[in-house]
């Protein structure tokens, strides 16, 4: 397997040291990593899921908006940040693999590397109780 871009490697390394839940996707929205604090909210370990295409993880977490209406994958803050290359903040509800529904706040930003390469996006999120 080829090596990932250095900015993505460093983002993952930073995420693995932070206690904030962090979720990282590649340029096409494929999930490529989430850290241990995120595992507690998503209901399973990253090692159990591995990489997942955008449609698959969006369906798996069944995101809904504030009015409990289903959110299409493209309307999830992380995917907006990826598509529009801008920071996005939002509130959504997700259902983890443990079947527990949780409301979360999300701040997402695009990963734009050297020479303006679009490398993916990152979501920082936390549970709202």
């Amino acid at each position: 397997m080829p090596q990932r871009e250095i900015e993505v490697i460093l983002t993952r390394q930073l995420a693995s040291y932070l206690t904030l839940p962090i979720f990282i996707v590649g340029p096409d929205g494929t999930l490529i990593f989430y850290n241990e604090p995120a595992e507690a909210i998503l209901g399973h370990r990253f090692e159990e899921t591995g990489e997942m295409p955008a449609q698959e993880w969006a369906a798996a977490y069944a995101a809904t908006d504030d009015a409990d209406q289903p959110l299409a994958a493209n309307d999830i803050p992380l995917m907006i940040a990826l598509r529009e290359a801008r920071p996005v903040h939002g509130s959504v509800a997700i259902r983890g693999r443990d079947r527990v529904r949780r409301r979360i706040e999300v701040t997402a930003f695009p990963l734009i590397g050297q020479a303006r390469r679009h490398l993916g996006a990152v979501a920082i999120f936390w549970e709202v109780r």
Binding site: P2, Q3, I6, Q13
Partner: protein, 296 residues
């Protein structure tokens, strides 16, 4: 492909009797093809001697800078071909997110840091920003990629039809990795170094020194060996010696690291003047003195 080490020291030049064997000049490596094409990797203080022995009649040179820290550019202003109006000089180096390469280089090549302006050099100067698509220079195919080191920094992979050299003189792939190395996919520099015949890699510290320098952008000898093993290289040259390390220190650190790691490939401490001949997809001759190689 003939690879000659003109400067092996990291951070700052450290001439003196205690560093005479491995050398006190900072990073500079010459890569010469059978047809005479020359690439120069970094322009540390070692480039001055290389420029002084420049082959008559050779009118083009490509200087590939990994980054613009002083120990990699300080010799540039003392490289004779820059002042020769018959020379075509190409400099390849990374831009920053906010400054192009010309602006960045001119910060050094202008007063008060240097008496000559970049724009006043006599040669025909061409600046190129990396990383970019694969570059072809004579028989060389050159690939540059960003690596883990403070500020925009690249490593280079240089291939000919029968040999591959990887050059990562300032590189800290173990930063933030508890059990280094992880998988190739998540290891900085792997794509550049994979299956190289010769890897010239940062090995500034003893293992015991790394912890207090984590994040400075450099590796220990042990980490360099682990990285080389992951990348399945055939020969590792441990480069960028710490300026505070004497020849005896380098010997001791190197012996301890190789004894602990038992590498299944050849490992050598970089020595100023060493020459490596790479051919037929494998290095065919070990290090020789530059004098011997030039005489041959």
């Amino acid at each position: 492909m003939r690879v000659t080490l003109w400067g092996t020291r990291g951070s700052v030049a450290s001439p003196g009797g205690e560093t005479a064997r491995y050398g006190g000049n900072t990073a500079c490596v010459e890569v010469r093809a059978a047809d005479g094409t020359i690439l120069i990797l970094d322009a540390g203080t070692g480039i001055r001697r290389l420029g002084a022995s420049w082959p008559n009649g050779l009118r083009r040179v490509d200087v590939l800078l990994t980054h613009l820290h002083m120990d990699h550019i300080q010799g540039l202003g003392f490289f004779n071909p820059l002042y020769n109006e018959c020379m075509e000089v190409h400099i390849w180096a990374p831009a920053s997110p906010t400054m192009n390469l010309q602006t960045r280089l001119a910060r050094y090549l202008s007063p008060p840091f240097f008496p000559v302006h970049l724009r006043d050099l006599a040669c025909r100067l061409n600046l190129h920003e990396v990383p970019c698509d694969e570059i072809t220079i004579g028989p060389f195919r050159v690939c540059a990629a960003l690596v883990c080191h403070p500020g925009p920094t690249v490593g280079y992979r240089i291939e000919t039809a029968d040999a591959t050299l990887a050059y990562l003189p300032d590189h800290e792939p173990a930063l933030g990795v508890p059990n280094f190395p992880q998988s190739p996919e998540w290891t900085s520099g792997y794509g550049l170094a994979a299956d190289a015949d010769l890897l010239i890699h940062d090995a500034q510290y003893a293992g015991s020194e790394y912890a207090e320098h984590a994040g400075w952008g450099h590796s220990s000898v042990e980490q360099a060996i682990r990285f080389a093993a992951l990348a399945r290289v055939h020969h590792l040259v441990a480069f960028h010696h710490d300026p505070a390390h004497s020849d005896e220190d380098v010997d001791r650190i190197f012996a301890a690291a190789t004894a602990a790691q038992h590498p299944a490939f050849k490992v050598s401490p970089a020595s100023e003047g060493a020459v490596y001949e790479l051919a037929n997809a494998r290095e065919t001759a070990g290090a020789r003195s530059a004098k011997t190689a030039r005489a041959g």
